[in-house]
Structure formats: structure tokens, C-alpha cells
Amino acid sequence: MRDIWGMIGRRLLLGLLTLFVISVVIFGATELLPGDLARELLGQSATEETLAALRDQLGLNDPAPLRYWHWLTGAIQGDFGVSMATKKPIADLVGARLGNTLFLALYAAALSVPLSLALGVMAALWRNSVFDRASNALALTSISFPEFFVAYILVLWLAQSGLFPSMVRITPATTFGDRLYMAFLPALTLTLVVTAHMMRMTRAAIINLLASPYIEMARLKGMSPLRVVLRHAVPNALAPIINVVALNLAYLITGVVVVEVVFVYPGLGQLMVDAVTNRDIAVVQAIALIFAAAYVLLNLIADVLSTVTNPRLMHRR
């Protein structure tokens, strides 16, 4: 057990280091501009006074490391500064929307993970059958579809007939059941986009193991194919499966941006797109940091879980 905690501790430190580097990149990106941010934002016709005022407001007169320090310590305490476009504190803008986006991502994960694992096991069980070939072609196809294409097909098919709403209006008063109902189409879109890849990788991970001697042994004992796969192959295939699940959940984080815009879902992605349009750099930095942190966290969890499921990885010589 001590090994596990030690390993988790080390991974956590590594994750924090990654996050630190990411925050430097996100903050430092503004330093790439040839001129300064104030001129870039206000355009060439801005007068010296307005430029000076904006520089003062953004704190651009301080040296970069000092500004970074203020930004980082603020961000850790949940204070991301003030949005330039709306003049509101960014924490207020982000707060409610973060919950909505998390809800959507979790919803999509809850639909897609069991679905893709079940389909992957089925494809491995009936490999080279019509089902397997069809699922392969479908997987390649759905990976190639842009999210908005899938989304609009679903709108045309399911929202046109009035089954589900094509726009999501969530207020704090919305009940959980209503939320599930209203967010069904966005969640289904995300599910369709990520399921194919997870399913293919699950199938590949299981099939890789099927040539092993212990699988042959289990077969020779007279076990049913389903039992062989579930009892002997899946536990050993867990590490790669967990990794690919984490990878796709991380993909969900960026996938929500487009899907939220299609369904007018009040989440972080929508806020980020608006902020990019208005060049509201402080908001974009804050959201980028949140998304990147979630990405790092997911990879960290996957790392730990896949190590825990494989005893051999824990006792390295």
C-alpha cells in the first residue's frame, strides 16, 4: 500500500509541475505580441491617454514576472480579475457556467463509457463478423464527422419532431430531471463523437490478449467465449482501456466548446468563444487555465488507475 501512496504523491507533484508550466505558457502567450496588448486591443487610432489608461487598468506597467505572480496567486484563490468586455469579475461569469459544463461532460461520460465498453467487448467477441466490420466502418466515419454535423443531424431528426428541445435554457431553478431532459441532445452528440474511438481501442486491447496462452487454457477448459473475455481478458486489458477512456474524456473538454455553441448551452465553451470574439484576453486565459487543469487532472487519474490495475507496474525492479 505504501508504494501506491508514494506513487500517487509523485504523480501529483508531476501534475502540479505540468500545471505550473501550462500557466506560464497561458500567461506568457500575451508577451509574444510585437507591440503591447493595449495598442493591439484599441487599434492604431487610439490616443496616448486612452492607451495609458488601459495599460494602467491591465497593470501592464509592472514587469511581466510580477504580473504573472499576481495573476497566479489570484487564480489559485478563485480570483481571475475583471473581464474587459463586461466589466464584471471573471469568477462570477465562470462560476455558474463551470457547473453547467461539468454537468454536460459528466452526462456524456455516463452515456458513452458504458456504451463503448459494451460495444467494444461485443466487437472483440464477434471479431471479423458483420457486426465487427460495420462497427469499424462506423467508427472511422464518426471520428471524421465534425461535431456540428452530428449535432445538426440530431436536431433535424430528434428536435424537429418535438421530442427534445434544440436549445438549452438552464436557470438555477431548473430541476435535475429537466436538466437531464434538456441536455440530452448535446450529451448525445458528444457521446456519438467519442464512443467510436473508445470502442475500437477496447476491442484492440482485448484482441491483443486473446492470443495469450492463459486465454487458450481457459478456452480449453471449456469456458464460454463471453466468460473468457469478461473474466480473463478484460481485467488484463484494463490499463489501456482506462487510458483511452481518459483520453476521450479529455477530448470531451474541448468538444464541449462547439457543441455548447450549437445548442446555445450556457457553459464555459460558449463563454470562451464570446471572449475570443471580443478579444477579452483575461477571460480567455482564465477558461484556458480551467480546461487545461481538467485535462491534466484526467490524465493524472488515468495514470494512477492504470498503474493500480496492473500489479506488475507497481513492483518495478
Binding site: 433535424l156 480546461f291 487545461a292 485535462y295
Partner: protein, 304 residues
Amino acid sequence: MTVLIALLVGLALFFATGLAARVALQAGAPAPLKPLFRDMPLTAAFGLAVILFYILVAILAPVLAPFSEHEVLGGQYLPWEAPHYLGTDKLGRDMLTRLIYGARNTVGIAFATTVLAFVVGSILGIWAAVTGGWIDQALSRFVDALMAIPALILSLLLLTIFGTSVLTLILVIAAVDATRVYRLARSVAQGIVVMDYIEAARLRGEGMWRLIRREILPNAMAPLVAEFGLRFCFVFLAISALSFLGLGIKPPTADWGSMVRENATLITFGDITPLLPAGAIALLTVAVNFVVDWQLHRASGLKE
């Protein structure tokens, strides 16, 4: 019911195109290439046919298009009737014309971006692998830091800073994707650099550029070509997504992503016109994926 019929028609078209393309390619190919096309799966034949079709449309756009790209021709959102066979868009421009020009603009920009990402990424990657030492370390750690941020998020951040125009779009996406190409090129080149013939070439006194061009690139070509196809798909989808979000290619340039965005309201009335540009994007990506899949399968020598 209509969904089922559409699905069946789609499948029939897919088989017909695939079979026709396979027969045509076998008949038309020069003798040394014939065995290559004989064992080609139907999906790959279909993919090749679609890619050729897109290239033709992109090149011949001014000849094929019935109207001009930016011309406002009449009422907005006209139905599918002659002379506007696919109706008109929000501003009354001919949909079919804009779809055809979109092949030129969207695919052209995506292709240019991919080439740029590839040239930068693979040269830097191979250079880092050949040089080694602190240059390799510095470049690789820098790329690692960039890759720790999801691609779309990083592109959005860079677009905020540099503003949204076609040129910045190309540069930003190319920069983001070059990091991925760099990773692959470096790892492929690292396997080659330790070979004896590289050592021999070095002792012979070959310079860095010649070493990369004559010794390493030819041997790293196969994985890089497959990666080019996959990378093109990612770039193409990224550019379409950004244009769809209103942050990429700007009107009045005909572009598939922004065409979906502009006409999306029609969907809620049950009109499928906005799905056409989205479908055009999807079809090309599927086609490229099919061909890449076939090439990867051939290169790995796998027989399932």
C-alpha cells in the same frame, strides 16, 4: 422511414463508387502500380474517388459554378428550384456556387496549413534528433509544454492574442499542429539516427542538411506520409470548427464551416440545406481516413 431510405441509398452509392473507382484505377494505372490497386479494399477505392472528385471541383470551381462567389442574386433562403438548384443563403447568394467555391477555399487553406505544419514540424523534429544535446532537450520540453494544453484551447488563446484573420488562422493552427508533427518526426528520426549508415555518412563528412535530406527523410517517409493524411483531417476539422464558431475564415469568402453557421437557423424549420456544407466536410474527412487506414494497414503488413 426516410432515414432508412437515405441510409440504403447512401450505402448503394458507396458500393457503386468504390467498385467503379477500383475498376477504373486498375485499368488506368501504369503497370508497376497495378498490384497495389488490385488488393485495394472497397473503402479505400471509395476514398480515393472522393478525394479526386474534391480536387477536380476545387481546380475547376470557376468553370463549374453557375454564378459568382459573392454575388447577391435575389431573395434570401430561396427553395431548391432552378436556377438555384440548392436554393440561396441568408444574403441571397447561390448555395451551389458557394459550395463549389468552398472546396477551393476551405480545402485549400487546410491543405496549405497542413503543409506548413509539416515542413516546420518535421524539419525541427529531425534536426533535434540529429543534433541531440541541449538543443533537442530545449525544443522537446518546449513542445511538451505546448502539448499539455488541449489543441483547440491553445488555438483559441492564440487567436485572442493575435486577432482573427485568415493569415493568423493558418499560422496558429500550423503552429499548434507542428508540435504534434515534431513529436512523431523526432521519434522516427531517433530510430534512424543510430543506424550504421548514418554514422558512415557522418564520417564521410556529409553536412546536416544533406544528412537530413538524403539519408533520414527517405527512410522516415512512410510514417510521415500516413501522418500527413491524419494531420490533414485534424487541421481540416479544426479550421472548420473555428470557422463555424465565427473565429476562422471570414465572410464573404465561401467557406463550409461558416456556411453552416450562417444558415443554421434553417435546420429548425426542417430544411437540410445547412447540412450540405457540413456533409461536404464530413465526406472528405471520411475519404482521407479510409485511404490512410488502408496505407497504414499495408505498411504494417497486417492481415487480420
